[in-house]
Amino acid sequence: MAENTILNLIQLRENHEGEIVLIKAGRAATQRLNEMGLVPGTKVKVVRKGLLRGPVELEVRNSHLVIGYGLASKIYVKIA
């Protein structure tokens, strides 16, 4: 992959890592994601994805989060 590719979490493959650059969701959803530890600069790893348009399991700050498909597609990460 090219340097500094920007992908959303749906595009990021399982077991791949990235650093959050942007969350393009509504105000309340963005705040919630922030509070769960997803702020710009945070490293996240996609652990697994659900069936079809199922949710995404992330490893972030040493714990696991599950984010719905729609929201996951609004979280953008940069791959170093």
């Binding site: 969350i23 105000r27 309340a28 959803a29 963005t30 705040q31 919630r32 994601l33 922030n34 509070e35 769960m36 530890g37 702020v39 710009p40 600069g41 945070t42 697994r48 659900g50 069936l51 079809l52 348009r53 199922g54 949710p55 399991e57 700050r61 040493n62 714990s63 696991h64 989060l65 599950v66 984010i67 719905g68 498909y69 729609g70 929201l71």
Partner: protein, 657 residues
């Protein structure tokens, strides 16, 4: 020395807060609601070294924003009721995220003690935490605990008492953020905190400053917290202060991209991760059991297979156990019959006594209890192991089709135990819209009482496969009903955001206590209603009043649903408790064999109608508290409509059974 002490337990979800609460308080605890809110409030008392300590278990939350009712309730409790000490319960195996919440408690500058819980799991994950360093950085006592085993709890309370006894009254007059040792947000935020604080001082809105804390209130105003802004505006001169703050914040907004709340949240996480880095040493990253199990449990194919297997096997086990246990109890009660009939009283009284009082009691104990007990055990295990969260993951997409997300399935599944906690539990969801759809769905989920009716009639006399078919039909009905509810409810659906907890071995004592508290409700509340209800019905039977009731209900019950006329009466009593429908049907017919009253087809129609026709009175009360009267009546009406519609259709198409 203060004698009456109030302490609050605060922390994230799944950190063992409730386990600590249960370990500290005895079997007598009050579970009520927060005033004006539908969030559950648990309170208990601990007597320790001659002191009386009131313990309040705050809801498990991740933040002190105005995002959910739980969060507002928690911060208002801390601000208004000023507990003597806040025990911040944190999960040692997941320190950084937990510290994010700790930082917010520190901002409130309340007396605190930290319970560093689940240290055993942290060790298993290969994590070691330097407690001394943590105490030093946070400036509060930290005690290692393993709540499930009761370890460290005595020391925790000792520390709490030390804090209480050393506590000096602190009123903040001149706050300066520069004096903060660990709460360092960077120059920009710190500067704006002081500017906002000065604006508040200038307009003399000291009330709100003293209630919370200068630092916390200023940060909340930077975050544009809607609830705090409302509170500020209500103060004299508050509106002016707010306008000035808004103007001031323009400058900060111009310098930042993205919302200011992200800026503040990121700064808090920087503090949390700084503390974590200083205190946590991960010896080596171990592959945990959780990772291994989840490879199967959350697998795209095997995950679903194992989920269905777990649910199927559990229900089968509950059924088998119930059947056996019920048989044992029945044999035991048969001994009582001659005792009543050998009494020297007129025969009519014997009938009333036996059919009303004893038969009612026997039905309740032999039919309901044997199924309720294993069911609660199953539900507790599902809840306490963390598997419920996996179900949420697997079912997220399906729930999305009805405007909900996987997390909504957790309260809905709780409905299998009892609809009341299910409806109240929908409050974990974010919007009124989701709460409405989920609580509507919950009312159609067969609770233990209705499961018992179906297992005890269709299951016993027609075979478990028919009972399963009825449950499958119910799932379909719930899904279709929710689909329409989603279409008519205003607003937009939200997406899932959920922490995936590690698997836990449920601790025996707290689990048993949880089961006992649930069973207690049945024994103390339901059982008397059933017995008195049976007795009243039996007496009414002799007065002949039923003729007039069935006159009204017959067109629907007999003509459309094809059921015996008497069902019209038991359905009315079933509104009190669903168990009553079956128990009273038996009592009124003077038999304990349902086959003498209902044909197989009638059994199915009766089971389905009882399952769907109306939420019981307790559920209606819970609905009212959760979604208000208007929507509650809508739910009640729709339930009745669905029950009559489907019952009638089944009566017409099931000609082969």
């Amino acid at each position: 020395m203060k004698k009456e002490i109030v302490i609050a337990l605060a922390g994230n979800a799944n950190v063992g807060k409730s386990v600590i609460f249960n370990q500290l308080t005895g079997l007598t605890q009050i579970i009520g609601n927060w005033p004006g809110k539908t969030v559950e409030r648990a309170e208990g008392v601990l007597r320790f070294k001659g002191r009386t300590i009131k313990i309040v278990d705050l809801p498990g939350i991740y933040s002190l924003s105005a995002y959910s009712q739980e969060e507002i309730v928690s911060r208002e409790f801390i601000a208004f009721e000023k507990p003597d000490v806040v025990i911040n319960v944190v999960d040692a195996s997941n320190l950084e995220r937990n510290l994010f919440f700790t930082v917010q408690l520190l901002e409130l500058h309340v007396p605190m003690v930290m319970a560093l819980n689940q240290v055993d799991y942290a060790i298993k994950k290969g994590i070691d935490i330097n407690v001394k360093k943590l105490e030093e950085l946070l400036g509060i006592p930290v005690v290692k605990t393993i709540a499930t085993k009761g370890k460290g709890l005595e020391k925790l309370i000792d520390k709490v008492l030390e804090v209480v006894d050393s506590n000096k009254e602190t009123t903040v007059n001149d706050y300066d953020i520069k004096q903060e040792k660990i709460l360092k947000y960077g120059n920009e935020i710190s500067e704006y905190v002081m500017r906002i604080y000065n604006i508040l001082l200038k307009h003399n809105v000291v009330n709100i400053i003293n209630l919370f804390h200068p630092l916390w209130i200023s940060l909340k105003l930077i975050e544009e917290d809607s609830d705090i802004i409302e509170k500020l505006k209500r103060e004299p001169d508050g509106k002016k202060a707010y306008e000035e703050i808004q103007k001031e914040l323009e400058g900060l907004k111009a310098k930042t991209d993205g919302p200011l709340v992200t800026l503040v949240t990121a700064a808090r996480y920087d503090i949390a991760s700084f503390i974590a880095r200083q205190t946590v040493s991960e010896i080596h990253h171990r592959i945990t059991w959780t990772d291994l199990i989840d490879n199967v449990a959350l697998h795209k194919i095997f995950g679903y297979i194992s989920m269905f297997a777990i649910v199927f096997i559990s229900f089968y086990g509950i059924f088998k156990f119930g059947e056996y246990f019920s048989g044992v109890l029945e044999g035991f009660f048969d001994v009582l019959r001659p005792l009543v009939y050998n009494l020297h009283i007129p025969n009519m009284y014997k009938d009333v006594l036996w059919n009303g009082l004893v038969e009612g009691l026997i039905s309740a104990i032999t039919i309901v209890l044997p199924y309720i007990l294993p069911f609660y055990v199953f539900l507790s295990i599902l809840e306490n192991t963390g598997y419920l969260a996996r179900i949420a993951f697997l079912m997220d997409e399906i729930m999305h089709k009805v405007g909900l997300h996987g997390k909504a399935l957790i309260p809905i599944l709780m409905g299998f135990g009892c609809n009341v906690p299910a409806v109240l539990g929908t409050k974990i969801l974010e919007t009124d819209r989701e709460i409405f759809i989920a609580s509507f769905m919950s009312t159609l989920v067969p609770c233990s009482a209705r499961i018992v009716i179906i297992l005890g009639t269709i299951g016993v006399f027609m075979g478990p496969q028919y009972a399963l078919a009825v449950f499958a039909l119910d799932v379909l009905v719930i899904y279709i009903a929710a689909y329409f509810a989603d279409k008519i409810a205003p607003g937009k659906p939200y997406d899932l955001i959920m922490e995936l907890p590690g698997y836990r071995m449920p601790a025996l004592k707290p689990t048993l206590k949880q089961i006992w508290i649930r069973i207690k409700d049945f024994l103390y509340v339901a059982l008397p209603i059933i017995v008195v209800g049976s007795l009243v019905l039996e007496i009414l039977k002799y007065t002949g009043i039923f003729k007039y009731v069935t006159y009204v209900t017959d067109p629907i019950v007999v003509k459309w649903l094809g059921l015996p006329s008497i069902v019209g009466i038991v359905l009315i009593f079933g509104i009190l408790r669903k168990e009553l429908t079956l128990i009273m049907l038996l009592t009124l017919s003077g038999t304990s064999h349902i086959t003498q009253i209902l044909t197989p087809r009638q059994m199915i129609v009766f089971g389905v109608v009882t399952m769907l026709y109306i939420p019981c009175i307790a559920t209606i009360a819970a609905l009212k508290r959760t979604i208000g009267w208007r929507k509650t009546w809508w739910v009640v009406f729709v339930n009745i409509f669905i029950a009559i519609l489907i019952g009638g259709i089944l009566n017409r198409i099931l000609t082969f059974v």
